[in-house]
């Protein structure tokens, strides 16, 4: 592991020793999420969302595998297999389906908080660029998986969502239309598309799981970041992952899963769209085609481009803008040159960060609501700001901003550099790595 004081694994039983000598799996687990992984002692609640994302990935895979046992991947049978067989006849089928539906939404909620945590605390900066980029790969895979999963019940929004999203490809000149037909296996979404979406929807979560392993592996080389952004200097700055962060992740996961259960059991269709309870009908276009809520900001960016500028037509601008809005995040480590990681010590960056949060919320609102002139205009302003924020404002701010003074170490930020006096006199307790005692 990365720090010299990381405790090596010591088998506690004969069996574990036997196992460890032959297959050092216990050693791997101990070093990854056990007492052998030193973690900065000052992590706040926003550092819990990585583990939560892993929990929701697991929920999705487990419920998804069982759902696949009852699902029929045919255009005639898909809607009924979901809405009659699974929802009515399979034992607790309704629970599996609602858990899977809302699990997808909560997976995205957790991931968005995780991403914005990274944006605020500069988690994309050296030496964690690859952690950030692998995370974006996971996010892109999640989007593909979620989109294809939404098509599977073959309701109206499934069908028309597939129609609209695969239609993006036809915006590209020359290759676009043949590419779209090749991807769909036909001129419109039909049996061929449904079958391949089902196949890929089953495959991609395991690809995600693989990239998650790379993401965590890359993270464990430099170790976790922290809210001050200051590097770990010595043992005083860290605590072993277990039991400290397992305990913290544990109760927080409980609280968050409770929230998820409240929605799943008491408002299971709140985050969905009523039209997806109407069977797919290629001849009847819904009044408002909208994707699931987690795509709304990108949908707003897509719809905002309505002007043929230069030799590029409006549709292609929209598609390019939508793809670029995510791809530009891969360049973030090089766009933001500030040596200070944490937004807490960057007075100007901090303001722009919150502006970005509001901007993305506005884009989400615009993307989910029916088109009205003022809403379209609002979306266009917000979309323009989104690009300016990352590609123009951030590089300029990071070049000219004077950061606030940083604490000289993590433990200083926690203890104000006055270990002995950090707790009221007479109440100081010895702590791991503590040199000072109460006086």
């Amino acid at each position: 592991m990365s720090f010299s004081w990381a405790k090596p694994y010591e088998p506690k039983s004969k069996f574990m020793q036997w196992l460890d000598e032959r297959l050092p799996l216990p050693r791997l687990v101990y070093g990854a999420v056990g007492g052998g992984y030193p973690v900065p002692r000052n992590l706040n609640i926003f550092w819990n969302f990585g583990v939560l994302a892993g929990i929701f990935l697991t929920i999705q895979i487990v419920t998804g595998i069982v759902l696949a046992m009852h699902y029929t991947g045919s255009t005639d049978g898909a809607f009924n297999s979901v809405n009659q067989l699974i929802m009515r006849d399979v034992n607790a089928g309704w629970l599996l389906r609602y858990a899977h539906m809302n699990g997808a939404s909560f997976f995205f909620i957790v991931t968005y908080i995780h991403i914005f945590r990274g944006l605020f605390y500069g988690s994309y900066k050296a030496p964690r660029e690859l952690v950030w980029m692998l995370g974006l790969v996971i996010y892109l895979l999640m989007m593909a998986t979620a989109f294809m999963g939404y098509v599977l019940p073959w309701g109206q929004m499934s069908y028309w969502g597939a129609q609209v999203i695969t239609g993006f490809f036809s915006a590209f000149p020359i290759v676009g239309e043949p590419l779209r037909i090749w991807l769909l296996g036909g001129y419109a979404p039909d049996q061929a598309a449904l079958t391949r979406f089902f196949s890929l929807h089953y495959l991609l979560p395991f690809v995600i799981a693989g990239v998650v392993i790379l993401h965590i592996w890359a993270l464990h080389i430099p170790g976790s970041g922290n809210p001050t952004g200051v590097d770990v200097k010595d043992e005083k700055d860290t605590l072993p992952f277990h039991p400290f962060y397992t305990a913290k992740d544990g109760w927080f996961a409980g609280a968050f899963v409770l929230l998820y259960c409240l929605v799943t059991f008491f408002a299971p269709n709140y985050l969905g769209h009523p039209d997806n309870y109407i069977p797919a009908n290629p001849l009847a276009t819904p009044a408002h085609i909208v994707p699931e809520w987690y795509f709304w900001p990108f949908y707003a960016i897509l719809r905002s481009c309505t002007f043929n500028l230069f030799w590029i037509d409006a549709k292609l601008w929209g598609v390019l803008a939508m793809f670029s809005s995510i791809l530009l995040l891969f360049f973030l480590p090089w766009l933001d040159k500030s040596p200070v990681r944490s937004g807490s010590y960057r007075p100007i960056f901090k303001r722009f960060f919150w502006l970005l949060v509001i901007d993305v919320l506005i884009l989400g609102y615009v993307g989910g609501a029916p088109i009205v002139w003022w809403r379209t205009a609002l979306g266009q302003v917000a979309a323009a700001y989104y690009f300016l924020h990352f590609l123009v404002i951030l590089p300029i701010v990071s070049a000219f901003e004077t950061p606030d003074p940083l604490p000289s170490s993590i433990s200083e930020s926690v203890l104000h550099g006055e270990a002995a006096e950090a707790a009221p006199l007479g109440q100081t307790k010895p702590r791991p790595g503590s040199v000072a005692t109460a006086g």
Binding site: Y98, A255, N269, P274, F387, V392
Partner: protein, 313 residues
Amino acid sequence: MRFILGLIGAAFALALVCSLFSGLSTYFANPPASLASDVFHKEPKELHLASDGPFGKFDKQQLQRGFQVYSEVCSACHSLKLVSFRDLKGLGYNDAEIKKIASDWKTQVPSINPDTGEAATRKALPSDNFPPPFANEVAARAANNNALPPDLSLITKAREGGAAYVYSLLTGFTKQEGYKNEKGAELLKEFPEAKTPPNLHFNPYFANLNIAMPPPLTTDGQVTYADGTKPTVDQMAKDVAAFLVWTAQPDLENRHAAGLSICIFLLIATILGYLAYQQIWHEAKRTVRITGPLEPENQAKTKRAKAKQNVAG
């Protein structure tokens, strides 16, 4: 590279700003006319059912009345394809009653003649789904002025507003002449071209105000309730809306019960987990927030402790 990326960002911003100005100029040059449905469409009325809320349970008497309305009125045109007769157990019917309901059902189930192999029909069994009133979509449209009566199995989940929408639609038919909205605007004066075409029926709760379905519940006493409830139009509409909540979510009671126990379990587990976390971190003398000895509370404690130990300062 940052310069190139900056240019790309500026290009997107430019395309979006051009879109903004072209959109706004088009809007102000020819503002789109508002539609009658924008101004006169009504949100569903309020409807309270026993199944509402996190502790909601079905009122089985009401479900049975609603089922009676469905079978005597709605089922003439609307199918219930995803529900089977055996599911009626959830309404409180016993096996013999269900068997009788199935075999008495007015439409029979397609089958084949066991001797000749020719297409035939047979009486429905409890294991069958409700047979649809029309053999196929063409037949349904032919019988209904080219309109297709939607399947009702999931209707309260497939429409914005759910049961309240169904109830409002059923009781919302009214005369279009002289119809005014809450603000007192008269529909046909403001939008003379929005007159309901022949074969359609005016209903302000329907998205485009004109629905192909003729008013299905027209007179009090259209059905005769076995339990003595007075069958007013309003009551029948409420009952059938309640029944359609059940057809769309037969899991509702199980879901509420399971949800309650799971949430209580998780709440207790989370509280225990939180206490364990406090216990574990207490030893690490965790101060995650940037706080310390200068906090007024800690200063007061220090002062008290010093006074106790007779330390000056």
